[in-house]
Amino acid sequence: MIGLLKAFGKGLLYVIGFPFFLLALLVFAVIGLLLFIYQIIRSIIYFFTGQKFFPELQEDKELRLRKEAANSANEIIDQPIEEHQDIVMPLIEERPMVSEPEGNSFETVEEACFNDTPLKQEEPEEEEEDVLASLTRDEPVKQETVEEEIIEEDNSFEEMKEETLKTAEDELTIAEDEELEEYIPKGSSITTDIDEEDTSNGVDIDYDL
């Protein structure tokens, strides 16, 4: 009953206020129509000047710039840490003992120059994989040991170099007194039976592989 009376009271008020509401509605309808015509004329001008139908407002432009600045800041913060992370240096105690390479001295120049034992520098790829795996397994970094070994190898190579130079000098002094042996490189053979008359076809050299 009270609800019905409330609705009756509202009805009375709305009957009194309806003409004013209708007037306001008509005013806004006319304003809207004028706005529409004004926007059409402006859009024709914008079309010929190459602008958009609704150009960006100053406030929207400021909002866009703030968002772009915030996004660029977030991108820097959100970058994965792995890209910046340097390889963790293990403790000195955890580093494995690197033994010096065996056979550090060479008897002859040929052995020093044509030694078949490969340098450890040729195995970095395998050791790099081990380094990556060791990072995940929290094991000591072998790359450091490789670098140490390389450094030690460099040092040992310099020592070897000095020694070989000494031996080379000694051999040269010996060679001056003695006849030089015929030098035959490894894995090659030279045919001595050469027919000097028939050299048109060249000299046959066989390589024993």
Binding site: K6, A7, K10, Y14, V15, F28, F36, E59
Partner: protein, 220 residues
């Protein structure tokens, strides 16, 4: 002294008066319900203003009520134009057809709603002008049934009105609904300009203890 008139109401008269009062009450109740519906729809239309100016207000790009009203007016106008272009085109098409009809038939007094060569040919039309008549003898009023003037039928001359009238009705109602939304958003912007920057201390009490920040819900 003037003569006094004694108003005697019969039972029938009393019943008629009571019925009329009930009808008036029901009419006003219906008007009240209709008005409440219109107000509810306008509040719903006004919420769109919040969406249009939300980010700019939250990011504190507008910092005064004047700036908020100016920005809301621009956004409101643009949104109105985006909504209103279809009904405006419908009304324009209806007007063009009316002009073409007048040019073809060379008559500028054409009423597209009439029942002879207008949209009325498709509707039932009654004559309500002669409902109440006086009897030939005696006093009183005779109430007659309205006379049926037109039954729905197709008229070739009225073909223009079959397009003009729907364009006007649909376009007109649609446009007024959008204009109501424009009015609602304008009122909402004026209200927000007051509430967003309101420094009211109505619910503030300095003696209430400061609530501790819940660390569990904070973003780590």
């Amino acid at each position: 002294m003037g003569t006094l008139f004694l108003i005697k109401l019969s039972e029938n008269d009393k019943r008629i008066i009571i019925a009329l009062l009930f009808a008036i009450i029901i009419i006003f109740v219906l008007i009240g319900l209709l008005g409440s519906l219109v107000i509810r729809v306008m509040k719903w239309q006004g919420k769109k203003c919040d969406e249009l100016i939300n980010e700019v207000v939250i990011n504190r790009i507008v910092t005064t009520p004047h700036q908020l009203k100016a920005y809301a007016r621009k956004k409101n106008s643009r949104y109105f134009i985006k909504q209103a272009w279809i009904p405006v085109i419908l009304i324009t098409v209806g007007t063009l057809l009316l002009v073409i009809h007048n040019l073809v038939y060379k008559s500028w007094n054409y009423n597209p709603f009439n029942s002879k060569d207008g949209f009325g040919t498709l509707l039932f039309v009654w004559d309500f002008g002669h409902i109440f008549t006086k009897p030939e003898t005696g006093t009183g009023i005779l109430v007659n049934w309205p006379k049926l003037i037109n039954e729905p039928h197709f008229e070739a001359n009225a073909i223009f009105s079959y397009f003009i009238v729907p364009c006007y009705i649909v376009g007109g109602l649609w446009y007024f609904f959008i204009a109501q939304g424009y009015l609602a958003r304008t009122l909402r912007a004026h209200k927000l300009a007051k509430t967003v920057f309101d420094k009211s201390l109505d619910n503030y009490n300095q003696t209430t203890p400061i609530q501790e920040v819940n660390t569990e819900n904070t973003v780590q």
